[in-house]
């Protein structure tokens, strides 16, 4: 099965990439800046959480669209798994950001559009879990959840990526222009680790997603087998 080789190849690639990111991220030179000093290395890890979350939730957005087109419950299950995975990375992003903030800005939280936007974005997805839990009929639940989630992605994106950019000055970096990806914004030395870090985290989050989805699929099949027996 050629699929099997590929399945191992990309995972090994992800591990190698992440090992490079961990070693390079801690050992390579970084620009000497006041206040943040060595904590600038957090960019490789904290920002990676958000890239992963948005990537996974975007894929989930596509799954929800696919569900509404086909009404195949497979897509509903996959969409649910993306939210579970995305929320893990979202919470890790918030927690790592708070630790970083405490040690550079002197407080865990500031009333900043970027921070509050991220919190609201996550709450919107938590509501998705509650919506799902309150419905029993799989088809109805799938339909409502998919419609809600399509809006949720748009709202989350607006709150995290757009509103912080148009709501004036912010203490959080990366709200003007295209953060990090724009040439000349991030130090060239750091780009050697930053770009592999983003790719590595995205691949790693996808890996976690596949595990969650397979677990859910097995659960679903067991329930089906039990139901058939009755």
């Amino acid at each position: 099965m050629p699929n099997k080789t590929w399945n191992y190849t990309w995972k090994i690639f992800t591990i190698v990439l992440m090992l490079y990111v961990i070693l390079g991220g801690l050992l390579f030179e970084v620009p000497a800046l006041p206040v943040i000093h060595q904590t600038i290395r957090n960019i490789y890890f904290h920002v990676g959480m958000w890239f992963s979350m948005i990537f996974i939730l975007f894929v989930g957005f596509l799954f929800s669209l696919a569900y509404l087109r086909t009404f195949d419950l497979k897509y509903d299950r996959m969409a649910f798994a993306t939210v579970k995975t995305g929320l893990i990375f979202g919470f890790l992003g918030i927690i790592t950001g708070m630790i970083w903030a405490q040690n550079t800005w002197g407080t865990y939280w500031v009333n900043d559009p970027k921070l509050n936007g991220a919190a609201v974005g996550i709450l919107v997805y938590l509501a998705y879990l509650i919506l799902r839990a309150s419905l029993d009929d799989p088809e109805k639940r799938g339909r409502l959840a998919a419609v809600y989630k399509i809006f949720a992605f748009v709202i989350m994106f607006v709150f995290i990526m757009i509103l912080p950019r148009i709501s004036g000055p912010s203490i959080h970096p990366g709200v003007d222009g295209n953060p990090a990806l724009a040439t000349g914004d991030l130090d060239p030395m750091m780009r050697r680790v930053f770009f592999p870090a983003i790719l590595g985290w995205i691949l790693f989050s996808w890996w976690i997603y596949t595990v969650v989805e397979r677990k859910d699929k097995i659960n679903q099949k067991i329930n089906q087998l039990n139901a058939d027996q009755l």
Binding site: I22, L23, E29, P31, V211, R214, I218, K221, I222
Partner: protein, 54 residues
């Protein structure tokens, strides 16, 4: 400040090993999932053949 000293490379190595360990654990979980999937497929097939017999 940019100079790396004070044996930070030891911490880097420790983190790398922890990550590698967790990745191997993921492979282990996936192997378990493989087996469960196989077993469930067998059960489903069995169920199907039972239905045909009836």
């Amino acid at each position: 400040m940019t100079e790396i000293h004070g044996k930070i490379y030891v911490v880097a190595m420790v983190l790398a090993i922890i990550f590698a360990g967790l990745a191997i654990f993921l492979f282990y979980i996936e192997r378990k999932l493989d087996r469960m999937e196989k077993k469930i497929n067998e059960m489903e097939e069995e169920r199907e053949s039972e239905k045909v017999r009836k």
